[in-house]
Symmetry: C2
Subunit: 425 residues, 2 copies
């Protein structure tokens, strides 16, 4: 079943920019081509290249099984400089052994040669089916073709090349003034299934869940340390706060490249104007992450789960994650049922420390549990109306401390099961 | 949707004893009546009573939100002696505050009065919807009626009274010789949804997952310590090894009562014949637990997940649990797809320490991953044939040590989502 052919897929109040509004980032060129990895014949190879080496920060999946491009790309990103990104969709190049690693190398080498840059400045990514060795020569011919097609106007072509089961393209862009220079921050992402990113940035543990690939490109001049700080600030509020199904992929990659061509005075983490760049990176990644949940396989709803008053942040995350992953809660959200018993139950088994007799629970602004007593029967109609919205916020106050957490979750739907039980989706 | 009206529900090779073969346990009487808690008018109150006080061991949910009957029953079971069990289905009496606790008390008091026994020897249980205070008087009238109907032949009536969304009754019985005395061990259970028991026995941490209620009744003469030892031995291999959806209930209760009327020489944990009684308790609980997975809401398959060669038992359990709970793996099982990439991916994010390059994976006797290389494409037809069976074993060898774990899991099906997204199931 092709997701974009799903007639029951319903629209959303969240504004989704499906028209290919032109996106340009000074100094960056883009291309997306089809090399035949996808049976549909859609674009399956993307290349993004900067005119000059860019400062880079990236985060990768924490899954112990790491796809070949992740193994290869991690130390390159850790070095703090990248000039090109080469991506294929339709095959994850994960669990493919030495052969797969050689293919990831070949992809990068092909791009490096075509762009006349060192191979170590090329970051590879792959997404698609796990465990099938990708056809190396076919893929490399695709990379060559993409390098030949690079254009400042190719953003949407590249984006098409990274997509798999996505029903719509995911992108976001901002411009801001730093000093008197206009700076662009633009991002693209793919998502859909296996979404529960736990990505780790440069050796510091930051949980993420998906096959999520996300690339943020900027012409800002910024130090490596500052760019890492911005990514580190963004992840817990964006990619590491989303759950579609709770399966953490072998391929998750979030990379930010800044090539400095805006010629603003270079920002360090202590610069007066750093918070503005950081804010833009956070907003772009949040925008992309939310679209991934919105477009989760089969998803009909986005639920913001907010936990307040936890004893520790870990406890707040435990409660939010338990609800975000609970099949029973997610099925009730799908059905538009304000079944708070399942929510309270999930909080109870989450492992967090709290007194159930003090719990408050809200669905948007409708309180459904007060001081540990379920009062949903009194507000049944109002509560049901909230849960039937395509987006709503579920808030729990544990009254056990002052820590908070936020998760964006999709519901569990018939289409999710249909899609993922289809032989070889 | 009534589960037993589901036309797509397919039979299973596992023998299920749906005919009410008579089960008697010397000294025990049983009853099940309808008091109107279930809209269907089916039996919703059960009472089990022993002619004399019985030795008792019980385990209860580890969910922080504990149903009223769990709060009340836990210290009673911990005292090691019980004479009656009173159960209602159709209402979980969970998250119902002081009022709910008073109702659980009233259930027990009513039974104690009718049976002329101390209230502290009565164990209460409830199962059904969370967060709705049960109608106390109606329930107590039901308990009175059940006490009046008690009969040595009422086993199946009582079993009907504890069921909720179960499609078939779950019971198992054995007789064994201890010395020259015949001893009976018989059990009944209910399951269906919210199944991922993590029960805790008498202060010692033993994980379980469900609304599972299970009662094992025996006429054996045995010490409290020995009976606890038997339950402790059985749980990791039975109720704490099953996962339907991964939601751990507020009400899980597993209790074993032994009234001594077989008049065998009383068994301690060091008795020569204790292993025989222990084995019977283990087999009866395993039989019940497996039936709960088989009858998991919407389930079409039982998958035995066996992890070998883990560094620690915790690691082995992590891998088995990650697969048992992974929506992607469970949907592939439903679809009969031998998608080993998803299995390897779940092992990878489980948190267990192992080298993916050494992994072996088998579907029944078909090896699909050898030394970290997926070889499923070579054995595609044979592997698909296994996954399309209604029961199969998935074995992972991590080659990281010598610890093992076993889980019995259900698949994730369209019917699971349909059933649990129906408003107020």
């Amino acid at each position: 079943m092709a997701r974009n052919a799903n007639p029951s897929y319903t629209g959303a109040p969240m504004k989704i920019d499906v028209d290919p509004v032109p996106i340009r980032v000074p100094g960056f060129r883009f291309a997306g081509v089809a090399c035949g990895l996808k049976e549909s014949g859609n674009r399956d190879v993307a290349v993004i290249a900067s005119a000059v080496p860019a400062i880079a920060a990236a985060a990768f999946t924490t899954n112990r099984v790491q796809a070949a491009p992740v193994v290869l790309g991690r130390p390159r990103a850790a070095a703090g400089r990248l000039q090109a990104i080469v991506v294929n969709s339709g095959n994850a190049n994960a669990y493919t052994g030495r052969d797969g690693l050689a293919t990831a190398h070949a992809m990068c080498r092909t791009a490096a040669r075509a762009l006349a840059i060192p191979e170590t400045l090329v970051l590879p990514s792959s997404t698609g089916r796990i465990g099938v060795p990708p056809p190396r020569e076919q893929l490399c011919r695709g990379v060559e073709a993409a390098c030949a097609a690079l254009s400042p106007d190719g953003f949407h072509d590249a984006l098409a090349g990274i997509m798999t089961t996505d029903a719509f393209p995911k992108f976001a862009a901002e411009t801001l003034l730093i000093g008197d220079r206009e700076v662009t921050v633009a991002g693209m992402a793919k998502g859909a299934g296996m979404i529960a990113p736990r990505v780790l940035l440069a050796g510091r543990p930051v949980p993420t869940h998906a096959t999520t690939l996300a690339y943020v490109l900027s012409d800002a001049a910024v130090s490596v340390a500052a760019l890492r700080r911005a990514l580190q600030a963004a992840l817990p509020q964006s990619f590491n706060a989303i759950v579609v199904d709770g399966d953490t992929s072998t391929n998750d990659t979030v990379a930010v490249l800044a090539n400095g061509l805006a010629a603003n005075p270079s920002l360090s983490a202590s610069s007066r104007e750093f918070p503005e760049l950081c804010g833009a990176v956070v907003r772009v990644l949040q925008n992309l992450a939310r679209k991934i949940v919105k477009d989760g396989e089969g998803a009909t709803k986005v639920i913001d789960i907010r936990v307040h008053g936890a004893k520790t942040r870990r406890d707040a995350e435990r409660v939010a994650d338990a609800i975000a992953r609970s099949p029973l809660c997610k099925a009730a959200f799908f059905g538009g049922d304000p079944y708070t018993g399942r929510i309270v139950c999930a909080a109870g088994y989450s492992g967090a420390t709290f007194d159930p007799a003090k719990l408050d629970v809200y669905l948007d602004d409708v309180q459904v549990v007060r001081g540990g007593r379920e009062i949903v029967t009194r507000v049944e109609r109002a509560a049901a109306a909230v849960v039937q919205r395509p987006e709503f916020t579920l808030t729990l106050h544990l009254h056990a401390g002052h820590a908070i957490a936020h998760r964006m979750a999709a519901d569990l739907t018939l289409d999710y099961v249909k899609f993922n039980s289809d032989y070889r989706t």
